[in-house]
Amino acid sequence: MGRYFRRRLLTAIPVFFGITILVFCMLNLAQGSILDLMGEGSGATDADRSALAASLGLDQPLPQRYLSWLGGLLRGDLGNSYTNGKPVAGLIAQRVGPSLLLTGTGVVLAIAIALPLGVLAAWKPRSGWDRVASALSLVSFGVPGFFLCLAGIFVFSVTLGWLPANGMYAAGRFTSLADLLRHLILPAGVVCLSSVGELVKQTRAACLETLGEDYIRTAYAKGLTERAVMVRHAFRGSMIPVLTTILSHIPHILGGSVVVEQIFGWQGMGSLLFSGISGRDYPVVMGVTVVIALTVLLTNLLLDLVYGLVDPRVRYGKG
């Protein structure tokens, strides 16, 4: 087990560098750089452009730029933003919290709704619960996120006036928990709605699957109540696909939701990534990628280990 774990850790390293090289090349393949955005495309002179290129190191060849970025990374330095010159690590540190709060709350809410609902729907197919589950996943899969945001703002902020339409705090900074929570409800609700559908579907499908297994029949035969069978056996047996789905949300939790953050003016990683892309601020995009890549690699490690814990039949490969 320990050896397996060590091996997985070691193999994560080339994957990590693969990702950074790929993203770096992709970014530089994309058309336009920060130099094209100077003076909104028209007000700057060639002298301005070459001055900026020199100060950002954009006049160096591509491999050299990658290597110097990598060198910085190994020293723990993610470089400085092209647009505002601030250290990227600091920018990301400012944004991780809000993203974690927003997407984390949304996804945890979604899990809290989806697990019981999925089990109930599988337990009594075509019952009221099953219909609720279907309807919920339909909304989740059939309505685009930006529409949920804007419709939510229109209903709850503009018409009813119950909830704030933007931002994290009423006065620009943390004053009270209640204030933050009030601002959190609408965007987190949208995040929850957009991820709940897949979770419900997966839970229901996995539960149905396990209900057909032999050990469930044995459990019934032993005279256990239906309830006990559902909770103790069917639910546990269906954990693998459910966990897969949940853990696949983790990079999303950290990466934030671009659309939701953009519309609500939420200060998270998603809007940082988006402004980094549209402003061709490569160090910022690379920094966000590194952080997300690290989390994904760690969760995938975790996922493989959890498979083993949940389902003891899975044996780890030799060596």
């Binding site: 994309a30 058309q31 336009g32 094209d36 955005l37 100077m38 003076g39 909104e40 495309g41 028209s42 007000g43 700057a44 002179t45 060639d46 002298a47 301005d48 900026l52 100060s55 933003s81 092209y82 647009t83 505002n84 010159g85 920018l91 400012q94 944004r95 991780v96 919290g97 809000p98 974690l100 709060l101 984390g104 709350t105 945890v108 809290a112 804007l150 703002i153 229109f154 503009v158 006036g161 704030p164 339409a165 933007n166 931002g167 006065a171 620009g172 900074r173 943390f174 933050l180 639910f235 953009q262 519309i263 609500f264 003016g265 200060q267 809007s271 940082l272 402004s275 549209s278 402003g279």
Partner: protein, 524 residues
């Protein structure tokens, strides 16, 4: 499992909250919430790669400028109380306001202004946008100070700044053109730093200026908290704090209606189409008087080498319909880039002429090739309309919807043949042409700039209105004949009035300054 979920939830909440929560504020402060659809980049005004209006409008709060420019082109005192022309129009004296002071209490003197300009024009200083200063004596065409020459910015006495120019210019024209790029920096805090290291200073993380607002804290790209500078020389508003938040433009109006924003830049601009929605939401709407957008179709004169073909495109476009689609009736189609309502005029008119366009296409030897028209995604409808109009005269066009970085780079390297762009018009005759018809920024790929630069230099160097107008007419004739770009229309906007704040000079916001010192909270 329930326990696990609860635990997970608590952990996430706790993590998020610790990361978000700053120190608690107990004092009751009146805050004005200010929305912006795009982020500023740098809070050091001479280190902004984009040089965008978003950065300008934010720097306008922290730093002070010489004057306040109204939308109609009139000027009010700001950092300078008055100004006068001297040395036969070759120089201008600015009499500074003695009450002006930096946020650290240091009075602003003429020396600060002169030192700022000396610093930014210093070739060792990695400043951006110093092209602004190329009008000053002692600088080269990029705005770098020339060694051995006297720089045209000096402090005559403690409160008199003298700017000397390369050619005669009136103080009004100078301010109209350059005021939004001229800020005074706290040079007393920069004295010990080498010019080359200026941008590395920690000062720019918490900038000190002499503007109407003081920096408090920033989440770059997302939020800026400013305190009102109660000692500002022109007075201060009756609230304590200004919070600038970046919100997607689809949420600006809804936030204003729901009361989660007090105002949004620029000037609460609102399309005609949204006016009824705003009114239904209880927002008062006023119509702007002054054109604040200018739309053009950029052409690539290298891939569309024939002037006849370029003129044919001009004739093929139904500017009336395009203008209506974009402005919903708040715009005037135009044949020129000269802003209507200013001192200068242009007698050219436009008309759609499908047959004429076909003839011109034939004369120009159009071979039926397909041109690429680039636009940003919010203008794809406009592009689709143009595509149909050009198809009517037999010209094939495909549309590429890209973001602005790709659009400008594609125009610069010749990947696209046409692109739709819009600008904030200026009151000066050369506001559009001077920077675009120059060797260092030849965005239209014109093979021979000489004829244009001849007229531009003539207009710049002549002093009287009359000679300038004559030269301007000649330049416009040349442009009409060569059509390196196609002027489309000048648009106005509606201003969604703040439900909570009074006395906002909405129209002037488009010109990158706001009279925040005069804003007043409405009685509840």
């Amino acid at each position: 499992m329930k326990r696990l979920i609860a635990l997970l939830m608590a952990a996430v909440l706790a993590l998020g909250l610790t990361a978000c929560g700053g120190e608690k504020e107990t004092a009751e402060q009146v805050t004005v919430r200010y929305g912006l659809s795009n982020a500023w980049d740098s809070l050091m005004p001479y280190n902004s790669p984009s040089g965008s209006n978003y950065t300008r409008i934010v720097c306008d709060k922290i730093y002070d400028r010489l004057a306040y420019v109204h939308a109609d082109g009139t000027l009010d005192p700001r950092g300078a109380k008055s100004w006068e022309s001297t040395d036969d129009g070759m120089a201008v004296l600015f009499h500074l306001d003695e009450k002006a002071a930096f946020h650290d209490g240091t009075p602003v003197t003429a020396q600060h202004w002169a030192d700022t300009i000396a610093l930014i024009t210093n070739p060792d200083c990695p400043a951006l946008g110093r092209g602004t200063f190329s009008v000053l004596a002692g600088t080269d065409s990029n705005g770098c100070a020339v060694a051995g020459e006297q720089l045209g910015a000096e402090a005559v006495d403690e409160y008199t700044l003298k700017l000397t120019f390369k050619s005669a210019i009136t103080p009004e024209d100078f301010l109209l053109d350059k005021n939004r790029e001229l800020y005074v920096l706290p040079t007393h805090l920069l004295a010990d730093t080498e010019p080359a290291d200026i941008m590395e200073l920690d000062l720019w993380d918490a900038p000190v200026g002499s503007g109407p607002c003081k920096f408090v804290e920033e989440i770059p790209g997302s939020q800026l908290v400013l305190d009102i500078n109660k000692d500002y020389q022109l007075g201060c508003p009756d609230f304590d704090q200004l919070v600038v938040t970046v919100i997607d433009k689809s949420n600006l109006l809804s936030s204003l209606i729901s009361g989660d924003l007090d105002y949004y830049a620029f000037g609460g601009n609102l399309s005609m189409d949204d006016a009824e929605t705003a009114k239904a939401g209880g927002i008062e709407v006023l119509e702007g008087e002054v054109p604040n957008t200018f739309y053009e179709l950029m052409l690539n004169c290298e891939t569309i080498p024939s002037a006849e073909v370029r003129r044919a495109i001009d004739l093929a476009l139904d500017k009336e319909a395009l203008c209506l689609q974009s402005t919903h009736g708040l715009g005037e189609p135009t044949a020129t880039d000269v802003t209507p309502g200013t001192e200068y005029t242009c007698s050219l008119t436009w008309q759609r002429d499908v047959e004429g366009a076909k003839t011109l296409l034939e004369q120009g030897g159009y071979d039926g090739r397909t041109y690429t028209l680039a636009c940003t995604s919010n203008r794809s409808g406009l592009a689709a309309l143009m595509q149909q109009e050009l198809a009517e005269v037999g010209m094939n066009v495909t549309i590429e919807t890209v973001d602005s970085a790709a659009l400008f780079s594609g125009m610069a390297d010749g990947k696209y043949d046409m692109a739709i762009a819009s600008h904030t018009p200026g009151a000066l005759p050369l506001w559009f042409t001077e920077s675009r018809l120059s060797e260092s920024n030849n965005i239209f790929h014109i093979a021979d700039l000489e004829p244009y630069t001849y007229y531009i230099d003539q207009i710049k160097s002549s002093s009287g209105w009359e000679t300038r107008q004559v030269m301007l007419d000649k330049l416009q004739e040349l442009l009409a004949d060569q059509r390196p770009f196609i002027p489309l229309w000048f648009g106005r906007t509606l201003h969604a009035q703040s439900p909570t704040v009074d006395n906002i000079d909405y129209p002037s916001s488009s010109f990158s300054n706001e009279n925040i010192w005069a804003w007043r909270m409405k009685e509840a």
